[in-house]
């Protein structure tokens, strides 16, 4: 897989959420993932961007969302950072618990974990960083080269 490193600094807006999703979809497709996996990656990035814009930066125009894509070897690694107060991991509910099943929110992190191979969440007082990894599967560990 061709190596790639690209970084974006984005405003805390709903447009950023759509933009992050579209960029993830394009890079995942160019990286050779099949259509279903491209959808999973783009949805995971969308959910992470929603968390960064809404819950992290709370739409603060002075706070930015940083979105990094790194394609190395057999992984696509996506990192999303916000400048919020830091996610409290203990407060993330289990959306599959019977008492939470009919709640109207709280499924974002669950979906991210469902769709990605590795998810690391690093909250701090200066913001939350979430790192998403998707491995390239296949007999040789390779994917088809993207057509430009």
């Amino acid at each position: 897989m061709t190596e790639l490193r690209v970084s974006y600094t984005l405003d805390s807006t709903l447009e950023t959420v759509d933009s992050a999703e579209q960029t993830a979809s394009r890079i995942a497709a160019e990286s050779g993932f099949d259509e279903d996996v491209v959808m999973q990656i783009s949805m995971a990035v969308r959910e992470a961007a929603v968390n960064a814009v809404l819950h992290g930066n709370a739409y603060d125009p002075d706070k930015k969302v940083k979105l990094d894509f790194e394609r190395t070897g057999n992984d696509l690694v996506i990192t999303i950072r916000d400048q919020g107060k830091g996610l409290d991991l203990a407060k993330i509910p289990d959306p599959l618990a019977p008492e939470n099943l009919m709640k109207t929110s709280g499924r974002g992190i669950f979906l991210i974990r469902s769709f990605m191979d590795e998810v690391q969440i690093h909250p701090s007082q200066t913001g939350t960083e979430i790192k998403l990894v998707k491995h390239v599967h296949g007999p040789s560990g390779d994917v088809k080269e993207a057509s430009q």
Partner: protein
Amino acid sequence: MSMKTSTRQVDGVTIVDCSGRITLGEGSVILRDTVRELLSKGQKKILLNLGEVTYIDSSGIGELVSAFTTVRNQGGELKLLNLTKKVHDLLQITKLYTVFDVRDEEAGAVKAFS
């Protein structure tokens, strides 16, 4: 493509044909407003046709749950029709597939309303 809805009546059931994306922002708001408007007019048998919905995020899933609960709390029924594979899979992994009454054939779905 943003979310669009159109409604039609079949044997006392309001079928809402949805298309596009049910996502945070406009898509979720349109679905919420559509359901609220139907309830305000006393139309409490609602069949959401999701056959042309191309994308749904966690906010959209939450909006479906909210619509289901809101309709039920007002003595009505809300069912889902024609799920795409993507939406079907999302409802499966969030364990909501068995919460909703999901149908894949319109005439049968209409008859299933009490």
